[in-house]
Subunit: 274 residues, 2 copies
């Protein structure tokens, strides 16, 4: 088990965690709450554009952790697959412009395709954008998503699959993201984290609520669920990860509350439970 | 890929699929719809008692496939674990009385326990009731549940785990249930079905809807989702399974409709998609 965190020096917040805030409001809110790092979602960049987002972020002094999200490669037509690849190249450009070293990939899935076909198209898609990522100096990260998202969000549902993909792509430019929400149930989690080793490029936390009332937007604040977050942090750190710990909470309930107060609760929960 | 089914001779319906019906209504409805086989849930036995249920079932001529469900072994106190074991012995007695050759185990989980502790308690619990099952001539079946149920319903979330448990218990009395809803996403599904071989004692079907609106009660009728049911049936049959194909659908939407009409739809969907 990892030792408790002593401070919030490794705390990163996803702009989706405070979804009601615009990028400008999120930056101001995080700085005010003494949060040192940020992961930016593209939907928060879009209203201001990458150039202005880059200016705001640079001026804030916040540490850029990643851009969320690329991916969504599988599709039923060749045109849609090409469009997805183009969009991933744009995400890479956007990451480079705002100073994010990493684009996190939610790899995609289509209920009209077999899982094996979706998985093949994902690997092909990542291979297709890899040279662009290399040229831009931006890493790509494969994030395995919970099996309950295998119909439309990701056909990569275990860390083993993500590790296999990284091995098959064999590029230092590609790593994996461990999000405790997606992988906490996996009996092979500890061994696959160990296997991932230095290819773990990001680490996301939140909690699994009982009961979970919605498949997408009912994630819990750390401590409000049953995920052994500190134990999993211990495993990723034993594997060599020492980066930021990113709070990514999709929650209709929390989004309906005062976001500054929620941010304070998040800081406390980070220390108490991560 | 398995060949299409030519008739409904292997069709079995779970009483939970037509939940609004009492056991008496379900039996009458299935006989009327020419459904040959039934799996009975304990909550449908309880109002009439096992003896009367046995009489009704015997008189109906329906083939008894299994009793659902035992399990729920993990608990935070020794007393609650003993109570669970006692309750599983009662389920075995009930199965013997109504002529069900099998008790399906939803193994249980507790958000207050680690998954590894829950998994240990499950194995201990099954081992504890095994002599009773042997004496009663009733098989037990470990049903892996979808990872989205790992907090409260089952810490056994992949067929590999279920197979490992069967291997560790090494008794002909224990097998596995393959429910397509729970395992369709698993990249190791085909190989673990092959490994399970003759220990596959039951096969459940329904479908995964997009979007799924509720974690528990939004299962789809076969054909209304993205699960490759016929392909998975081909895998279990290649592994040696030739038993009944059990339709188990939890659905607030379907339960709100006329159950006789729903049963007709189920018969058609069985032929078209299983």
């Amino acid at each position: 088990m990892a030792l408790p965190l002593q401070d919030t020096s490794r705390l990163c917040i996803h702009t989706m965690t405070t979804k009601p805030w615009s990028l400008r409001e999120a930056i101001a809110g995080y700085v005010r709450a003494d949060v040192p790092a940020i992961t930016v979602w593209r939907q928060h960049v879009e209203p201001v554009g990458a150039r202005e987002a880059a200016n705001l972020l640079r001026a804030s002094g916040l540490r850029m952790v990643s851009l969320c999200r690329g991916g969504f490669f599988p599709a039923t037509t060749a045109k849609a697959r090409r469009d997805a690849i183009d969009d991933n190249r744009r995400a890479i450009d956007e990451a480079a412009e705002i100073g994010a070293p990493l684009v996190v990939l939610v790899c995609g899935a289509s209920p009209e395709l077999s899982l094996s076909e979706s998985r093949k198209q994902i690997l092909d898609g990542i291979a297709a954008v890899l040279p662009h990522a290399q040229a831009a100096g931006v890493k790509l990260s494969i994030e395995p998503l919970h099996p309950m998202y295998a119909d439309t969000r990701s056909a990569v549902n275990t860390l083993r699959q993500a590790n296999d993909m990284v091995a098959s792509l064999s590029s230092e430019q590609v790593g994996v993201t461990v999000d405790v929400y997606h992988v906490w149930w996996d009996p092979d989690l500890e061994s696959e984290i160990q296997r991932a080793g230095k290819s773990i490029v990001s680490f996301h936390v939140c909690d699994w609520r009982t009961p979970t009332r919605d498949l997408l937007n009912d994630r819990g604040l750390m401590g409000d669920g049953c995920v052994p977050i500190r134990q999993i942090r211990g495993w990723v750190e034993a594997a060599g990860f020492s980066g930021d710990i990113e709070v990514e909470i999709f929650s209709d309930a929390w989004w309906a509350t005062n976001q500054a107060a929620f941010l304070e609760k998040t800081r406390s929960a980070f220390i108490a439970h991560c």
